[in-house]
Amino acid sequence: MLPQLVRRVGLMIFTVWGAVSLTFVILRLAPGDQATVQLGPDATAADVSALREELGLNRPMLVQYLDYLGSAITGDFGESYRFRESAMTVVLDRFPATVLLTVTASALALTIGLLLGVLAGRSPGRLVDRVISGITLVMQAIPSFWSGIMLILLMALTLRLLPSAGSGDLRHLVLPAITLAIPFTAIVARITRSSVAEVTTEPYILTARSKGLSERAVLTRHAVRNSVIPVVTIVSLHIGTLMGGAVIVEQVFAWEGVGSLLVGAVGNRDYAIVQAATVLLAIVVVTMNLLADVLNSRLDPRIRAGATTS
């Protein structure tokens, strides 16, 4: 168990490092940098290169990269030139809002997705299944920026029920959470559907019926639990998708979380913020994946056995 855990943590660190490095390179490949943005379009070339010199941006990329990694390891992710504050502090300030949004959206998506998936999967090919499969296909295909704008038009502008943007009280949470939940619900529902449809053909389901159990007991006690195992695995792989979705949704609804901060920072070439936000999101994703594995080993005794013997 212990060597496996060590390996696992090593892999997590490797993943975060990979995300940081990729972001570092991609950011610097984009045209423009802090100096050009800060000085504006009217600045002379001499001014720009003077500022570059001052900021250390004219050093070779490898030197900058190693310098950045060196301080990142000690927990120093640099200073945001716009906020004039430690970048990680700025990002962490915005983090609770993103957590609130993604947790609410996940709760919505898991509840509705599992329900729809079980309903469809227990009678594959029937009308319920075809209707649900059709709906979830559409939900998965709609881009979040579009469904977000449509929700704003309907709920905020036409019906005037909810605020269109901002992040004050809970009423502000409703629309972005729904927007973010839509594609995630579809993913959960579709995986659950195929998993339930497969599990209900297993011989042990026939065994359960042969005991004289009600269909409800067969479904809840025998089918659902076994169906959830692959759902947890695949859903955990989509946590990154959820985080990416949060970036877009926060931007659409001006939700003051890490996502909207990140988009603004990319525009301003505020490297420190972009990198700090990337590190944080990467850590969230790998941690959630680990939690999903732990949950699965609780659900499936065969995985538990495999983990202790290897």
Partner: protein, 345 residues
């Protein structure tokens, strides 16, 4: 041991007998609905093991599933399944749920897939008792007793184990304990040893025989394996392409088959004692139940087939007391048959 007429006398209908009459199962096939089981009748007599034998596609497993009402919703089941005076085919869903497990229960073929991988053995065995209102600890205790009853060593400690922690034979024992939990009078064992190692098979068959005697059960043993049948079955029902072709006491049927199919089956079994290992393999391939040949379904493979067999469906007739055969020439077979069946004994 018993002659046919004695056997017929002992077969007086009691509450402990499950009578299957004219059972017909219609399922959707590649070319519309087809009666894959057609007019099957037999009795499961108290304290006896009835063997249901046939090749794959003969409809033997479907027949067994129909007795507990577990035919897919797309199928239609006709005829009668009489438990005492009650026709189970007319029983409602709620009543059938009561029957399953409590009156008739099933031992499935492959215990590695027929047991829920994420539930402890104890919980699976005790589940039906929990349904009846026993507390968790009572059900667990009873499950341990049942596991002990079917010969699982150290049962009390193993109720908390999961199926993957058991060997194949132990899993099948647990499956049997699960079937016994509701104290049924009838056990349907669907190929209960097919998925097991040969060395384990005999022990499981012995266990089933012992339980039948100790717990006064009637057993239906569904198998394609003639050797298994010759060891365990008291009565035999031979099925081909969804129909019964021969029925009677097991020893009599195997020693003097009254149907060319039974005869061919018996001859096809290689004998361990004799040099010529593979005796006489059955020619041709089994009839497709969705596309059954006209007349006698066995005629394309039958050495005795004549024109009549290609057009006229042979009725199941009593040839000698207690012996039924669905062959136009059963009387001929009765006079001449002296097959190599002695090997099986």
């Amino acid at each position: 041991m018993m002659s046919g007429s004695q056997r017929e006398e002992s077969r007086r209908v009691s509450a402990g007998t499950l009578r299957v009459r004219d059972l017909t199962i219609v399922l959707p096939g590649p070319r519309g609905m087809a009666d894959v089981v057609d007019g099957v009748s037999f009795d499961m007599v108290e304290g006896r093991t009835t063997g249901l034998i046939g090749e794959s596609g003969s409809g033997k497993s479907l027949t067994a599933m129909a007795l507990v009402g577990l035919i897919p919703d797309t199928g239609v089941v006709r005829g009668q399944v009489l438990l005492g005076d009650e026709d189970l085919l007319k029983a409602g869903r709620a009543r059938m749920r009561q029957v399953r497990g409590a009156e008739i229960s099933v031992v499935f073929q492959d215990p590695s897939t027929a047991l829920n991988p994420t539930m402890t053995i104890g919980d699976q065995v005790g589940e039906i008792l929990r349904e009846r209102g026993l507390s968790r600890s009572q059900a667990r205790e009873r499950a341990a007793d049942l596991l002990d009853h079917v010969g699982i060593p150290d049962a009390a400690a193993r109720v908390g184990a999961y199926p993957h922690e058991f060997s194949g034979g132990m899993r099948q024992r647990a499956m049997i304990a699960l079937a016994l939990a509701g104290q049924p009078r009838f056990i349907l064992a669907d190929e209960p040893t097919t998925a097991l190692d040969v060395t384990v098979q005999a022990r499981i068959l012995d266990l089933l025989g012992r339980l039948r005697d100790e717990d006064h059960l009637s057993m239906l043993l569904v198998s394609h394996d003639l050797r298994v049948m010759s060891h365990v079955a008291d009565d035999l029902v031979v099925m081909y392409a969804g129909r019964v072709c021969e029925r009677g006491g097991a020893k009599a049927v195997l020693n003097r088959p009254l149907h060319p199919y039974t005869d061919a089956l018996v001859r096809s079994v290689p004998s361990v004692h004799v040099e010529s290992a593979i005796a006489d393999p059955l020619p041709g391939s089994p009839a497709n139940p969705f596309d059954r040949p006209a007349g006698c379904p066995f005629h394309p493979r039958c050495p005795l087939a004549e024109d009549r067999c290609r057009t006229e469906v042979p009725a199941l007739r009593e040839i000698v007391p207690g012996r039924f055969s669905a062959c136009h020439f059963a009387e001929l077979a009765e006079r001449t048959s002296d097959s190599g069946a002695e090997e099986l004994r």
